[in-house]
Protein backbone atom coordinates (compact mmCIF):
# COMPACT_ATOMS: atom_id res chain seq x y z
CA UNK A 1 0.00 0.00 0.00
CA UNK A 2 1.19 3.53 -0.69
CA UNK A 3 1.40 6.51 1.63
CA UNK A 4 -0.82 9.55 1.21
CA UNK A 5 -1.81 12.52 3.35
CA UNK A 6 -5.23 12.95 4.94
CA UNK A 7 -6.19 16.60 5.25
CA UNK A 8 -9.01 17.26 7.73
CA UNK A 9 -10.72 20.64 7.71
CA UNK A 10 -13.36 21.73 10.21
CA UNK A 11 -14.99 25.02 9.32
CA UNK A 12 -18.22 26.98 8.91
CA UNK A 13 -20.78 25.23 6.73
CA UNK A 14 -21.61 28.51 4.99
CA UNK A 15 -18.22 28.54 3.27
CA UNK A 16 -18.18 24.81 2.50
CA UNK A 17 -18.66 25.34 -1.21
CA UNK A 18 -15.95 28.02 -1.42
CA UNK A 19 -13.48 25.78 0.41
CA UNK A 20 -14.30 22.77 -1.75
CA UNK A 21 -13.86 24.76 -4.95
CA UNK A 22 -10.46 25.96 -3.76
CA UNK A 23 -9.42 22.45 -2.70
CA UNK A 24 -10.33 21.04 -6.09
CA UNK A 25 -8.44 23.83 -7.84
CA UNK A 26 -5.39 22.88 -5.78
CA UNK A 27 -5.45 19.37 -7.23
CA UNK A 28 -7.52 17.19 -4.89
CA UNK A 29 -9.38 14.40 -6.73
CA UNK A 30 -12.17 14.18 -4.24
CA UNK A 31 -13.40 14.95 -0.74
CA UNK A 32 -15.77 13.65 1.90
CA UNK A 33 -17.82 16.01 4.01
CA UNK A 34 -19.85 15.46 7.17
CA UNK A 35 -21.93 17.97 9.10
CA UNK A 36 -20.58 18.67 12.56
CA UNK A 37 -20.81 20.87 15.60
CA UNK A 38 -18.07 21.93 17.93
CA UNK A 39 -16.25 24.54 19.93
CA UNK A 40 -13.05 26.49 19.51
CA UNK A 41 -11.53 29.93 19.76
CA UNK A 42 -14.55 31.43 18.00
CA UNK A 43 -17.02 30.03 20.48
CA UNK A 44 -19.54 27.23 20.45
CA UNK A 45 -21.08 26.25 17.13
CA UNK A 46 -24.01 23.99 17.92
CA UNK A 47 -25.67 24.16 14.52
CA UNK A 48 -28.91 25.48 16.02
CA UNK A 49 -29.26 28.02 13.20
CA UNK A 50 -28.00 28.70 9.70
CA UNK A 51 -24.62 30.36 10.31
CA UNK A 52 -23.87 28.27 13.34
CA UNK A 53 -23.14 24.96 11.62
CA UNK A 54 -19.79 23.31 11.12
CA UNK A 55 -18.72 20.93 8.43
CA UNK A 56 -15.88 18.42 8.62
CA UNK A 57 -14.15 17.96 5.25
CA UNK A 58 -11.65 15.18 4.60
CA UNK A 59 -9.27 14.97 1.63
CA UNK A 60 -6.90 12.15 0.77
CA UNK A 61 -4.14 13.46 -1.48
CA UNK A 62 -0.40 13.49 -2.06
CA UNK A 63 2.00 15.36 0.17
CA UNK A 64 2.47 18.46 -1.96
CA UNK A 65 -1.25 18.94 -2.58
CA UNK A 66 -1.84 18.56 1.14
CA UNK A 67 0.60 21.31 2.02
CA UNK A 68 -0.71 23.54 -0.75
CA UNK A 69 -4.21 23.16 0.68
CA UNK A 70 -3.11 23.93 4.23
CA UNK A 71 -1.21 27.04 3.20
CA UNK A 72 -4.00 28.32 0.98
CA UNK A 73 -6.68 27.85 3.64
CA UNK A 74 -4.52 29.48 6.29
CA UNK A 75 -4.05 32.68 4.35
CA UNK A 76 -7.53 32.81 2.81
CA UNK A 77 -9.85 31.89 5.69
CA UNK A 78 -8.12 31.55 9.05
CA UNK A 79 -8.32 35.22 9.92
CA UNK A 80 -12.04 35.68 9.31
CA UNK A 81 -13.64 32.28 9.69
CA UNK A 82 -13.93 29.53 12.26
CA UNK A 83 -11.53 26.90 10.91
CA UNK A 84 -8.98 24.29 11.87
CA UNK A 85 -6.89 22.10 9.59
CA UNK A 86 -4.70 19.14 10.43
CA UNK A 87 -2.77 16.48 8.51
CA UNK A 88 -2.30 12.77 9.09
CA UNK A 89 -0.52 9.91 7.29
CA UNK A 90 -2.67 7.24 5.66
CA UNK A 91 -2.10 4.23 3.42
CA UNK A 92 -4.20 3.59 0.34
CA UNK A 93 -4.61 0.98 -2.34
CA UNK A 94 -5.22 2.29 -5.88
CA UNK A 95 -2.93 5.30 -5.17
CA UNK A 96 -3.61 6.67 -8.64
CA UNK A 97 -7.08 7.66 -7.35
CA UNK A 98 -5.65 10.22 -4.98
Amino acid sequence: MEKRKLVTIVTEENIEQLVINDVKKLGAHGYTSVSASGEGSRGTRKGDWDLNKNVRIEIVCDDSTAHAIVEHLMKTYYQDYAMIVYLADVEVLRPQKF
Binding site: I15, L18, D50, L51
Partner: protein, 319 residues
Amino acid sequence: MIENLLDPVVLFFLAGLIAGVLKSDLRLPESIYEILSIYLLLAIGLKGGAELHESQLHNVISPAAASIVLGIVIPVIAYFILRRLGKFSRPDSAAIAAHYGSVSAVTFAVVLSFLSQIREPYEQFVTVLLVLLEMPAIAVGIFIARLKTTSGPLRVGTLMHEVFLGKSLYLLAVGLVVGYVLGPHGLLPVKIAFVDLFRGALAFFLLEMGLVASNRLADLKRVGAFLVLFGILMPLISSVLGCVLGVATGLSVGGTTVLATLAASASYIAAPAAMRIAVPQANPTLYITASLGITFPFNLIVGIPLYHQMAIATHSLLG
Protein backbone atom coordinates in the same frame (compact mmCIF):
# COMPACT_ATOMS: atom_id res chain seq x y z
CA MET B 1 -49.61 44.15 25.02
CA ILE B 2 -51.76 41.63 26.85
CA GLU B 3 -53.60 40.66 23.67
CA ASN B 4 -50.19 40.09 22.19
CA LEU B 5 -49.05 37.85 25.04
CA LEU B 6 -52.25 35.88 24.65
CA ASP B 7 -51.30 34.93 21.13
CA PRO B 8 -50.24 31.24 21.24
CA VAL B 9 -47.48 32.14 18.83
CA VAL B 10 -45.88 34.49 21.37
CA LEU B 11 -46.45 32.13 24.29
CA PHE B 12 -44.59 29.39 22.43
CA PHE B 13 -41.71 31.77 21.85
CA LEU B 14 -41.56 32.50 25.56
CA ALA B 15 -41.68 28.77 26.31
CA GLY B 16 -38.67 28.23 24.07
CA LEU B 17 -36.84 31.20 25.54
CA ILE B 18 -37.42 29.92 29.08
CA ALA B 19 -36.43 26.37 28.16
CA GLY B 20 -33.16 27.76 26.86
CA VAL B 21 -32.53 29.96 29.86
CA LEU B 22 -33.29 27.08 32.24
CA LYS B 23 -31.03 24.90 30.09
CA SER B 24 -33.76 22.32 29.47
CA ASP B 25 -32.53 19.40 27.38
CA LEU B 26 -35.19 20.37 24.83
CA ARG B 27 -33.60 20.45 21.39
CA LEU B 28 -35.30 20.58 18.03
CA PRO B 29 -33.44 18.74 15.28
CA GLU B 30 -31.69 21.11 12.87
CA SER B 31 -33.81 19.87 10.01
CA ILE B 32 -37.04 21.03 11.64
CA TYR B 33 -35.63 24.55 11.85
CA GLU B 34 -34.84 24.51 8.13
CA ILE B 35 -38.08 22.84 7.08
CA LEU B 36 -40.25 25.20 9.08
CA SER B 37 -38.45 28.31 7.91
CA ILE B 38 -38.83 27.17 4.29
CA TYR B 39 -42.49 26.36 4.87
CA LEU B 40 -43.16 29.70 6.55
CA LEU B 41 -41.50 31.74 3.81
CA LEU B 42 -43.49 29.90 1.14
CA ALA B 43 -46.74 30.23 3.07
CA ILE B 44 -46.17 33.95 3.71
CA GLY B 45 -45.54 34.43 0.01
CA LEU B 46 -48.56 32.38 -1.07
CA LYS B 47 -50.91 34.21 1.27
CA GLY B 48 -49.54 37.55 0.12
CA GLY B 49 -49.76 36.58 -3.53
CA ALA B 50 -53.35 35.43 -3.22
CA GLU B 51 -54.30 38.69 -1.50
CA LEU B 52 -52.43 40.68 -4.12
CA HIS B 53 -54.53 38.88 -6.71
CA GLU B 54 -57.53 40.74 -5.35
CA SER B 55 -56.14 44.17 -4.52
CA GLN B 56 -55.84 47.28 -6.66
CA LEU B 57 -52.15 47.44 -7.42
CA HIS B 58 -51.94 51.20 -7.95
CA ASN B 59 -52.34 51.69 -4.18
CA VAL B 60 -49.14 49.75 -3.65
CA ILE B 61 -46.89 52.16 -5.50
CA SER B 62 -46.27 54.90 -2.93
CA PRO B 63 -45.97 52.50 0.05
CA ALA B 64 -43.58 50.44 -2.09
CA ALA B 65 -41.48 53.51 -2.78
CA ALA B 66 -41.57 54.34 0.92
CA SER B 67 -40.31 50.84 1.77
CA ILE B 68 -37.33 51.20 -0.53
CA VAL B 69 -36.54 54.57 1.04
CA LEU B 70 -36.68 52.94 4.47
CA GLY B 71 -34.45 50.13 3.23
CA ILE B 72 -31.81 52.70 2.32
CA VAL B 73 -32.22 55.29 5.08
CA ILE B 74 -32.39 52.94 8.07
CA PRO B 75 -29.06 51.20 7.45
CA VAL B 76 -27.35 54.57 6.92
CA ILE B 77 -28.70 55.89 10.23
CA ALA B 78 -27.81 52.63 11.96
CA TYR B 79 -24.32 52.75 10.50
CA PHE B 80 -23.55 56.21 11.84
CA ILE B 81 -24.93 55.41 15.28
CA LEU B 82 -22.77 52.29 15.48
CA ARG B 83 -19.66 53.83 14.00
CA ARG B 84 -19.70 57.26 15.68
CA LEU B 85 -21.38 56.56 19.01
CA GLY B 86 -20.67 52.86 19.28
CA LYS B 87 -17.11 53.12 18.01
CA PHE B 88 -17.53 49.84 16.14
CA SER B 89 -15.19 49.07 13.24
CA ARG B 90 -16.42 49.98 9.76
CA PRO B 91 -17.13 46.37 8.75
CA ASP B 92 -18.93 45.59 12.01
CA SER B 93 -21.00 48.76 11.83
CA ALA B 94 -21.91 48.20 8.18
CA ALA B 95 -22.83 44.55 8.72
CA ILE B 96 -25.00 45.26 11.75
CA ALA B 97 -26.63 48.18 9.92
CA ALA B 98 -27.55 45.91 7.01
CA HIS B 99 -29.42 43.61 9.40
CA TYR B 100 -31.55 46.45 10.77
CA GLY B 101 -32.35 47.81 7.35
CA SER B 102 -33.45 44.39 6.16
CA VAL B 103 -36.43 42.53 7.62
CA SER B 104 -37.52 39.42 9.51
CA ALA B 105 -40.27 37.48 7.75
CA VAL B 106 -41.24 35.75 10.98
CA THR B 107 -41.73 39.06 12.77
CA PHE B 108 -43.88 40.05 9.79
CA ALA B 109 -45.95 36.87 10.23
CA VAL B 110 -46.39 37.59 13.93
CA VAL B 111 -47.61 41.14 13.36
CA LEU B 112 -50.19 39.86 10.85
CA SER B 113 -51.24 37.23 13.38
CA PHE B 114 -51.50 39.99 16.00
CA LEU B 115 -53.60 42.22 13.74
CA SER B 116 -56.03 39.46 12.84
CA GLN B 117 -56.17 38.58 16.56
CA ILE B 118 -57.33 42.13 17.39
CA ARG B 119 -59.35 42.39 14.15
CA GLU B 120 -57.36 45.34 12.79
CA PRO B 121 -57.63 45.32 8.97
CA TYR B 122 -54.56 46.00 6.78
CA GLU B 123 -53.81 46.45 3.08
CA GLN B 124 -53.66 43.22 1.12
CA PHE B 125 -50.38 44.07 -0.56
CA VAL B 126 -48.22 44.28 2.59
CA THR B 127 -46.26 41.18 1.61
CA VAL B 128 -44.91 43.15 -1.36
CA LEU B 129 -43.44 45.61 1.13
CA LEU B 130 -41.80 42.71 2.99
CA VAL B 131 -40.14 41.54 -0.21
CA LEU B 132 -39.04 45.04 -1.21
CA LEU B 133 -37.50 45.73 2.19
CA GLU B 134 -35.35 42.62 2.35
CA MET B 135 -32.83 43.55 -0.33
CA PRO B 136 -31.74 47.21 -0.44
CA ALA B 137 -30.30 47.42 3.08
CA ILE B 138 -28.06 44.45 2.38
CA ALA B 139 -26.67 46.18 -0.71
CA VAL B 140 -26.18 49.40 1.27
CA GLY B 141 -24.38 47.55 4.07
CA ILE B 142 -22.02 45.84 1.65
CA PHE B 143 -21.39 49.09 -0.18
CA ILE B 144 -20.47 50.96 3.00
CA ALA B 145 -18.33 48.11 4.30
CA ARG B 146 -16.29 47.97 1.08
CA LEU B 147 -15.96 51.73 0.57
CA LYS B 148 -12.48 51.90 2.02
CA THR B 149 -11.62 48.39 3.23
CA THR B 150 -9.99 46.10 0.67
CA SER B 151 -10.68 42.55 1.65
CA GLY B 152 -9.73 40.78 -1.54
CA PRO B 153 -11.98 40.61 -4.60
CA LEU B 154 -15.67 40.76 -3.71
CA ARG B 155 -17.06 37.39 -4.76
CA VAL B 156 -19.86 39.19 -6.61
CA GLY B 157 -21.26 36.02 -8.14
CA THR B 158 -21.44 34.20 -4.85
CA LEU B 159 -22.83 37.31 -3.28
CA MET B 160 -25.58 37.99 -5.80
CA HIS B 161 -26.63 34.39 -5.32
CA GLU B 162 -26.61 34.80 -1.56
CA VAL B 163 -28.91 37.77 -1.88
CA PHE B 164 -31.23 37.36 -4.86
CA LEU B 165 -31.21 33.57 -4.88
CA GLY B 166 -30.81 33.29 -1.14
CA LYS B 167 -33.53 31.01 0.09
CA SER B 168 -35.52 33.63 1.97
CA LEU B 169 -36.00 36.03 -0.94
CA TYR B 170 -36.43 33.20 -3.43
CA LEU B 171 -39.10 31.40 -1.43
CA LEU B 172 -41.02 34.58 -0.70
CA ALA B 173 -40.93 35.42 -4.40
CA VAL B 174 -41.99 31.93 -5.46
CA GLY B 175 -44.89 32.02 -3.04
CA LEU B 176 -45.87 35.50 -4.12
CA VAL B 177 -45.87 34.59 -7.81
CA VAL B 178 -47.65 31.26 -7.40
CA GLY B 179 -50.21 32.84 -5.08
CA TYR B 180 -50.76 35.73 -7.47
CA VAL B 181 -51.09 33.48 -10.54
CA LEU B 182 -53.51 31.06 -8.89
CA GLY B 183 -55.39 33.45 -6.66
CA PRO B 184 -57.40 32.36 -3.61
CA HIS B 185 -59.48 29.95 -5.67
CA GLY B 186 -56.56 28.25 -7.36
CA LEU B 187 -54.87 27.80 -4.01
CA LEU B 188 -57.80 25.93 -2.49
CA PRO B 189 -56.14 22.51 -2.94
CA VAL B 190 -53.20 23.60 -0.78
CA LYS B 191 -55.12 25.94 1.53
CA ILE B 192 -55.20 23.59 4.51
CA ALA B 193 -51.47 22.96 4.31
CA PHE B 194 -50.33 26.51 3.68
CA VAL B 195 -53.03 28.71 5.21
CA ASP B 196 -55.01 26.84 7.89
CA LEU B 197 -51.91 25.15 9.27
CA PHE B 198 -49.82 28.30 9.16
CA ARG B 199 -50.27 29.66 12.67
CA GLY B 200 -49.69 26.29 14.27
CA ALA B 201 -46.47 25.88 12.33
CA LEU B 202 -45.49 29.43 13.23
CA ALA B 203 -46.08 28.67 16.92
CA PHE B 204 -43.96 25.55 16.66
CA PHE B 205 -41.23 27.47 14.86
CA LEU B 206 -41.22 30.16 17.51
CA LEU B 207 -40.70 27.54 20.20
CA GLU B 208 -37.50 26.71 18.33
CA MET B 209 -36.67 30.39 17.79
CA GLY B 210 -37.03 30.92 21.52
CA LEU B 211 -34.40 28.26 22.10
CA VAL B 212 -32.13 29.75 19.46
CA ALA B 213 -32.55 33.27 20.83
CA SER B 214 -31.83 32.08 24.37
CA ASN B 215 -28.54 30.58 23.21
CA ARG B 216 -27.57 33.98 21.88
CA LEU B 217 -28.13 35.57 25.27
CA ALA B 218 -24.93 33.91 26.46
CA ASP B 219 -23.05 36.35 24.22
CA LEU B 220 -24.70 39.48 25.61
CA LYS B 221 -21.72 40.28 27.84
CA ARG B 222 -19.35 39.72 24.92
CA VAL B 223 -21.11 42.26 22.69
CA GLY B 224 -21.25 44.98 25.32
CA ALA B 225 -23.93 47.28 26.72
CA PHE B 226 -23.97 49.66 23.75
CA LEU B 227 -25.08 47.00 21.29
CA VAL B 228 -27.73 45.74 23.70
CA LEU B 229 -29.11 49.24 23.95
CA PHE B 230 -28.85 49.65 20.19
CA GLY B 231 -30.87 46.45 19.73
CA ILE B 232 -33.77 48.06 21.57
CA LEU B 233 -33.51 51.70 20.52
CA MET B 234 -32.84 51.17 16.82
CA PRO B 235 -36.16 49.38 16.23
CA LEU B 236 -37.92 52.25 17.99
CA ILE B 237 -36.28 54.80 15.70
CA SER B 238 -37.06 52.70 12.62
CA SER B 239 -40.64 52.13 13.69
CA VAL B 240 -41.18 55.88 14.00
CA LEU B 241 -39.96 56.33 10.44
CA GLY B 242 -42.18 53.44 9.42
CA CYS B 243 -45.22 55.00 11.06
CA VAL B 244 -44.66 58.40 9.48
CA LEU B 245 -44.04 57.03 6.00
CA GLY B 246 -46.94 54.62 6.42
CA VAL B 247 -49.43 57.37 7.19
CA ALA B 248 -47.84 59.68 4.61
CA THR B 249 -48.32 57.08 1.88
CA GLY B 250 -51.94 56.51 2.84
CA LEU B 251 -51.70 53.19 4.67
CA SER B 252 -54.43 52.24 7.15
CA VAL B 253 -53.64 51.88 10.85
CA GLY B 254 -53.10 48.17 10.24
CA GLY B 255 -50.89 48.74 7.23
CA THR B 256 -48.92 51.38 9.10
CA THR B 257 -48.39 48.94 11.98
CA VAL B 258 -47.05 46.42 9.50
CA LEU B 259 -44.67 48.90 7.87
CA ALA B 260 -43.46 50.08 11.28
CA THR B 261 -42.85 46.49 12.36
CA LEU B 262 -41.01 45.72 9.13
CA ALA B 263 -38.84 48.80 9.63
CA ALA B 264 -38.17 47.80 13.24
CA SER B 265 -37.44 44.14 12.50
CA ALA B 266 -33.91 42.91 11.87
CA SER B 267 -33.00 40.19 9.38
CA TYR B 268 -31.65 36.90 10.69
CA ILE B 269 -31.64 34.79 7.51
CA ALA B 270 -30.74 36.82 4.40
CA ALA B 271 -28.50 39.46 5.98
CA PRO B 272 -26.26 37.15 8.04
CA ALA B 273 -25.74 34.80 5.10
CA ALA B 274 -24.84 37.68 2.79
CA MET B 275 -22.65 39.52 5.30
CA ARG B 276 -20.66 36.44 6.22
CA ILE B 277 -19.59 36.15 2.58
CA ALA B 278 -19.39 39.82 1.58
CA VAL B 279 -17.99 41.30 4.81
CA PRO B 280 -16.03 38.44 6.37
CA GLN B 281 -14.10 40.78 8.66
CA ALA B 282 -17.31 41.68 10.48
CA ASN B 283 -17.75 39.64 13.64
CA PRO B 284 -20.92 37.57 13.23
CA THR B 285 -21.40 37.31 16.99
CA LEU B 286 -22.21 41.01 17.02
CA TYR B 287 -24.90 41.11 14.37
CA ILE B 288 -26.47 37.82 15.32
CA THR B 289 -26.67 38.61 19.02
CA ALA B 290 -28.19 42.01 18.28
CA SER B 291 -30.66 40.78 15.68
CA LEU B 292 -31.64 37.39 17.08
CA GLY B 293 -30.86 37.78 20.76
CA ILE B 294 -32.19 41.27 21.41
CA THR B 295 -34.29 42.83 18.64
CA PHE B 296 -36.26 39.75 17.64
CA PRO B 297 -37.58 38.99 21.15
CA PHE B 298 -38.11 42.70 21.84
CA ASN B 299 -40.28 43.11 18.73
CA LEU B 300 -42.29 39.99 19.41
CA ILE B 301 -43.06 40.69 23.02
CA VAL B 302 -43.02 44.48 23.39
CA GLY B 303 -42.56 46.01 19.96
CA ILE B 304 -45.55 44.87 17.94
CA PRO B 305 -48.32 46.05 20.29
CA LEU B 306 -46.32 49.25 20.82
CA TYR B 307 -46.00 49.92 17.09
CA HIS B 308 -49.74 49.42 16.82
CA GLN B 309 -50.31 52.12 19.40
CA MET B 310 -47.81 54.33 17.59
CA ALA B 311 -49.64 53.76 14.30
CA ILE B 312 -52.91 54.84 15.89
CA ALA B 313 -51.27 57.92 17.38
CA THR B 314 -49.54 58.91 14.15
CA HIS B 315 -52.82 58.55 12.30
CA SER B 316 -54.69 60.85 14.66
CA LEU B 317 -51.79 63.34 14.40
CA LEU B 318 -51.00 63.33 10.67
CA GLY B 319 -53.83 61.22 9.27
